[in-house]
């Protein structure tokens, strides 16, 4: 098999795995958002002990490698009776990991809503729900959206980690191809890079466009200056 033929063969072999990569990312994203929501609430409203725990959790995730989390979930937890499939372990790990980062985004978005606006809404006699819907969410989402979109890209890129627990995603499929045919290592690596570049570069540009569009004028990095 020569150049182009090999290339197409590898591409054909890796296509289903590329779909798996996308699916893992798509499933992990809402998982991460759920984690983020659960962690962010006590970080915003100070609740003794629970708030401290939530802060520690975020710090813990931010200072320990994702790879180690995955090893812990997949290799260590079975010894205390929690046994999960590789792909479940992967989705769980990604959700727990990226959720902590998203929590930072959500927290910043919450703090981007000026106190004065919230008080003004109260003075106007808005109910909590109306206040949330008409005052807080429109502003907070605007601040959070670029960060959340970015975390989606992060998740997609982080899925390659799942290859170490033999989830057949795009990066592991190249190992499988090599085991089967003892060839195509360069071709498959180029294809993996192409996959991420084709998705990542436009997505990155989109996120930067979102950032530019949604930055609240004049707020700079100190959202409190909005009024």
């Amino acid at each position: 098999m020569d150049g182009l033929e090999r290339f197409l063969d590898v591409a054909h072999f890796m296509a289903p795995a590329a779909v798996t990569t996308l699916l893992v990312a798509l499933v992990s994203f809402p998982g991460a958002l759920t984690v983020a929501a659960i962690v962010t609430v006590p970080r915003i409203h100070r609740i003794p002990v629970i708030s401290w725990l939530a802060d520690q959790y975020v710090d813990f995730v931010r200072t320990t490698p994702l790879l180690l989390h995955l090893f812990f979930v997949y290799f260590a937890l079975p010894f205390v009776g929690i046994r999960v499939e590789p792909i479940t372990a992967g989705v769980l790990t990604l959700s727990l990991h990226v959720g902590a980062y998203q929590s930072e985004v959500l927290k910043a978005a919450y703090h981007a809503v000026p106190r004065g606006l919230v008080e003004a809404a109260d003075v106007l006699g808005m109910s909590r729900l109306v206040r949330l819907r008409r005052v807080m969410l429109p502003l907070a989402l605007r601040v959070a959206l670029p960060g959340l979109a970015n975390s989606m890209i992060e998740i997609l890129m982080d899925t390659v980690i799942l290859s170490v627990v033999a989830v057949v995603e795009i990066f592991y499929s190249r190992t499988l191809y090599f085991y089967q045919f003892f060839a195509g290592r360069i071709e498959s690596l180029i294809l993996v890079c192409l996959f991420f570049v084709i998705i990542g570069v436009p997505a990155g540009r989109l996120v930067r466009r979102l950032e530019r569009r949604f930055t609240i004028p004049g707020s700079g990095s100190e959202p409190a200056r909005i009024l």
Partner: protein
């Protein structure tokens, strides 16, 4: 905990200490070279000629959209196939340098934009060469401005060094896998290693934050700078 447990735990110490050494030493080395590359990128991105700027822009965009693990294998595996066999540790540091250099290049460029344009003119008036202005006037200010973002990348780098364990660099994660495969006490070993990572990470963060406070300068925040800050950076 009885005598036997204690014996076993003490048996981990040499391995884990060796791994910890690698993990602690790799981070500043890789971060230093990534910062140098980042500065070069930033200078290149500021070049008057488009022929210099555009390729760098493309390179940065491509490099940052490829996962770190893939970068590591490009350096370790693909380079070896093409005839350039690097020791695992060199390949690892090279890969991390490129990834983080790309990110830092954009960050530092934003820092450069935040420096008052009059600083350039003042340098010229004093008869400084272009290179001297960069080195003595622009970069010191730009780097201080981006310090908070730089530190969150430092912690990212600290986490990313764990990937090198996969290409046989004997860091903390690599040793943990080795120990666990000997005695099958995965839970115990991975818990210890997670705690070690957490302690070292928190300590590094505390040390960086202290230096950050000492070096902090208040520069008017340009719009560009807020746009390019680390999207996942901490907002504390």
């Amino acid at each position: 905990m009885n005598e036997q447990d204690l014996q076993r735990l003490l048996g981990y110490v040499p391995d884990l200490a060796g791994g910890l050494f690698y993990t602690i030493v790799l981070t500043p080395i890789a971060m230093a070279s990534a910062t140098i590359l980042g500065v070069l990128f930033a200078i290149g991105l500021n070049a008057p000629r488009r022929i210099i700027r555009t390729p760098i822009q493309w390179f940065i965009e491509v490099a940052r959209s490829i996962p770190e693990l893939v970068h590591v294998f490009i350096w370790y595996e693909a380079f070896a196939i093409m005839g350039l066999v690097l020791p695992a540790i060199a390949a690892g540091i090279g890969a991390l340098t490129v990834v983080f250099g790309a990110f830092l290049g954009e960050v530092i460029r934003a820092g450069v934009l935040a420096v008052e344009p009059t600083q350039w003119e003042s340098g010229q008036v004093l008869g400084m060469s272009r290179w001297t202005i960069w080195r003595r006037v622009i970069l010191p200010q730009a780097l201080r401005t981006v310090l908070p973002v730089w530190s969150s990348y430092y912690i990212s780098m600290y986490k990313a060094t764990a990937l090198l364990g996969l290409i046989t660099v004997p860091d903390l994660l690599f040793r943990a896998r080795g120990l666990a495969s000997q005695n099958f006490r995965h839970f115990e070993i991975y818990t210890i290693v997670l705690v070690l990572y957490f302690i070292v990470g928190k300590a590094s963060l505390a040390i960086i934050r202290r230096y950050e406070r000492r070096l902090r300068v208040d520069v008017p925040k340009s719009e560009e700078l807020t746009l390019l800050r680390h999207p996942l950076a901490d907002h504390t």
